[in-house]
């Protein structure tokens, strides 16, 4: 059978297409972005007209996916872990409304924070919402789980979470596809009150969700993705969740693990397996990527006194992603280390690209603020967050999407004036607009910089929801048009940029300065594409 070399995220995209989705909804975020990109570029998806354009943020994406499910069709919504915080309101309540067409929420966690602000574990959210969670251990499972997950969602009548982590998301392996399932027709929910969470209805539906927990657990017990492998050595049992199972296998290359192993890839944790383990093992080690979710759970769930170890006990580090070496240590196995890194090797942190417009903006901002004490610039999530590093050292905050505007406002409210926000174009439309509205309504004395490179650049140059709309949004929420400026961040305009900053810092009210220049990575990509079109006009 033909093997496709897929990244984990691509396997998920293909699984969704082959699983019969009619739409995917997402906002870009590492390590989840390529799921949606894969569907956007996939020929079969294009032929079928699967809806795949970017959403303004994860909450709008989630709600639209739920709407498609309401209308009877299968849909998927994808995000990075922190994106689920943005979508949390819709997410938690969608467990209570339930679904009509199958709905999968795919969340990509980022332990070790390769490209993130925290390493929260989405399994907590899944447990919080009380829905089933699928956690693939490899690319093939990622494909199969998503393809079959819509049916699971329809059978259990709730959204199903697929949780992956960076390593699976961005690792490639051979994947075998199965037949393509057909899309669903538009059919409204049988019960017209299903999605109306008025208290009386919500109470009834919530009870229904509670009652279904047993069914979810039974389904997990029967799941082919969970496997109880009895070992000869009874002293020890291992629960290996999702990708951690691979790190365990890596330590037993001859498939000769002497201990009882529970491979856990579908939640809730089946109690029957735990009871079995309690009979067989004196001690249980939990291998899990992220927070000690299962470790905490089983401590309470074991009916007799069994020693449990894992990330909480210190057998594994409490933070950071797992690997085969950490698992080896937890198993008491010897590990091998190559030569040391020579002392002369220095860090090479990421930096703004040469020629990037954010650089020119920061140079002007630094000069304009030079006469004030430091610590007045609040920033946001995007390439421009790199302005915190030398040589710029311009910004003093990066918290969550949109926080620059509102934190600057709060600091100005406290009397820190001037107070400046630096936000990117797509971050502004993601979560900055409502904050700007607050600032206008409160007549806050802030300067908002929208560093507009006309794309979502940090994640690879996706189309920005803000494109062509920023000035009209700002005037629309009530910013005085006399205090909205659009400048081109280029060295030759440096003096003009500094002057505009100075004038707007002096103005007591909300100012918006848009620095607009195409992302140079996006520009290079566009030029390559244009050249290709010119060379091969027929393609």
């Amino acid at each position: 059978m033909q093997k496709n070399l897929f990244l984990g995220v691509e396997a998920i995209g293909q699984g969704a297409i082959d699983g019969g989705i009619s739409g995917v909804y997402a906002y870009p975020g590492t390590p989840s972005t390529e799921i949606t990109e894969f569907i956007q570029e996939n020929e079969l998806a294009l032929q079928k007209g699967i809806r795949s354009k970017w959403s303004a943020n994860e909450k709008t994406a989630y709600e639209a996916a739920l709407g498609m499910s309401y209308a009877g069709k299968r849909s998927m919504v994808c995000m990075k872990h922190v994106g689920l915080n943005v979508a949390a309101d819709a997410f938690i309540n969608s467990a209570i409304t339930g679904i009509n067409g199958g709905l999968i929420v795919t969340v990509a966690d980022d332990p070790s924070m390769h490209s993130s602000q925290n390493e929260q574990d989405s399994r907590f959210y899944g447990k919080f919402a009380m829905i089933p969670i699928l956690e693939p251990s490899n690319q093939q499972e990622a494909y199969d789980m998503v393809r079959e997950g819509f049916e699971l969602s329809e059978k259990l009548e709730v959204p199903v979470m697929v949780r992956i982590t960076t390593r699976l998301a961005h690792s490639r392996a051979g994947v075998i596809r199965s037949e393509v399932l057909p899309e669903k027709e538009v059919v409204l929910p049988a019960d017209p009150s299903q999605f109306v969470l008025l208290p009386a209805i919500a109470r009834r539906r919530y009870k229904g969700l509670l009652e279904k927990q047993e069914l979810f657990e039974k389904t997990a017990k029967k799941s082919k993705y969970n496997e109880y492998i009895k070992g000869e050595d009874k002293s020890f049992g291992i629960i290996a969740c999702g990708i951690a199972y691979n790190y365990l296998k890596e330590n037993y290359p001859k498939d000769d693990c002497p201990y009882t192993v529970l491979k856990l890839s579908q939640y809730p944790v089946p109690q029957k397996y735990l009871d079995k383990m309690a009979k067989h093992c004196e001690e249980v080690l939990v291998l899990e990527e992220g927070y000690p979710v299962v470790e905490e759970h089983i401590k309470a769930a074991f009916k007799k006194d069994i020693q449990v170890s894992g990330r909480l006990s210190g057998a594994l580090p409490r933070d950071g992603e797992l690997n085969a070496d950490l698992v080896a240590k937890a198993l008491g196995k010897e590990t091998q280390l190559g030569a040391d890194v020579p002392d002369l090797v220095v860090n090479r942190p990421p930096a703004l690209c040469q020629g990037c417009g954010h650089q020119d903006m920061y140079k002007a901002l630094n000069q304009a603020l030079d006469k004030y004490t430091k610590g007045r610039v609040f920033s946001d999530i995007g390439c421009y967050t790199l302005g915190a590093l030398p040589p710029y050292k311009s910004i003093y905050s990066c918290v969550d999407m949109g926080a620059s505007v509102t934190m600057a406002k709060g600091a100005a409210d406290a009397g820190l004036i001037p107070s400046v926000a630096v936000i990117g174009d797509s971050t502004f439309t993601h979560s900055g607009i409502t904050g700007l509205l607050d600032a206008v309504n409160d007549e806050a004395n802030i300067v908002v910089v929208i560093s507009d490179n006309e794309s979502v650049s940090m994640t690879g140059g996706q189309e920005s929801s803000a494109l062509g709309k920023i000035e009209s949004i700002c005037t629309g929420v009530g910013v005085d048009p006399n205090h909205i400026h659009v400048l081109t961040p280029l060295k030759k305009y440096h003096d003009m940029m500094v002057q505009t900053f100075e004038e707007e810092i002096a103005y007591d009210g909300v100012s918006v300065i848009v620095f607009r220049r195409e992302c140079i990575q996006a520009a290079a990509k566009r030029l390559r594409k244009e050249k290709k079109m010119k060379d091969n006009p027929n393609k």
């Binding site: 490639r172 051979g174 990708i243 070496d325 280390l337 002369l344 090479r348 990421p350 703004l352």
Partner: protein, 193 residues
């Protein structure tokens, strides 16, 4: 057969294009493959690595354990040194000697090269210079691929076929130039390993 490779470089240098050629050849040989990449923030000029694992049996982990890599293939000399803890005592370092200097505190280049020469098994090649001599500086990654080929446990012809396949869309002249680059790297490694 099992080959565990750490590919190293700086974001934007295109180490993933090397990985995709090796991957193409491995899949055509019906080998198992896992390849963990770096996406996201570090791609902006930061240190990037990719773990490429090829085997005739199923591969468990996406990451290579410490001290187990058979090869560090680096397109930049300091980056080759960063991953030494991954290298097995029998492993090879194959690195480009042209530094990519995008940080103010880049160490003395001679000292970096001296560290590479301290390694028990290495190939240090000026891939940029060789690529320029062939007529296209952008072919330096393919020179590096050629230099790594003696250590891949895949026949050179199969890798060359991978090059022809990957570059075929760009026309015969581009394929030919990359073949030359590959050959030059391979010859250098055979003479200097």
């Amino acid at each position: 057969m099992k080959t565990d490779i750490i590919l190293a470089g700086v974001g934007g240098q295109g180490i993933l294009s090397i990985a995709s050629i090796i991957g193409d050849a491995a899949i055509n040989e019906n080998l198992f493959l896992k390849q963990a990449e770096t996406h996201g923030m570090s791609q902006r000029g930061g240190a990037v690595q990719s773990h490429l694992r090829i085997s005739d049996c199923e591969i468990a982990a996406d990451l290579i354990p410490m001290g187990k890599a058979d090869l560090i293939l680096s397109v930049e000399p300091m980056e080759a040194l960063r991953y030494l803890p991954f290298l097995s005592p029998e492993g090879y370092v194959v690195t480009n000697t042209t530094p990519f200097i995008n940080i103010p505190n880049y160490p003395d280049v001679e000292a970096v090269l001296a560290e590479i020469e301290k390694q028990p098994r290495f190939v240090a090649i000026d891939a940029d210079k060789i690529a320029a001599e062939i007529g296209n500086k952008r072919a330096s990654n393919v020179v590096m691929l050629g230099a790594a080929t003696p250590f891949l446990n895949i026949e050179p012809e199969k890798i060359e076929a991978g090059i022809a396949h990957i570059f075929s869309r760009k026309g015969e002249a581009v394929v030919e130039m990359n073949r030359k680059a590959f050959k030059a790297g391979l010859d250098f490694a055979m003479a200097n390993k």
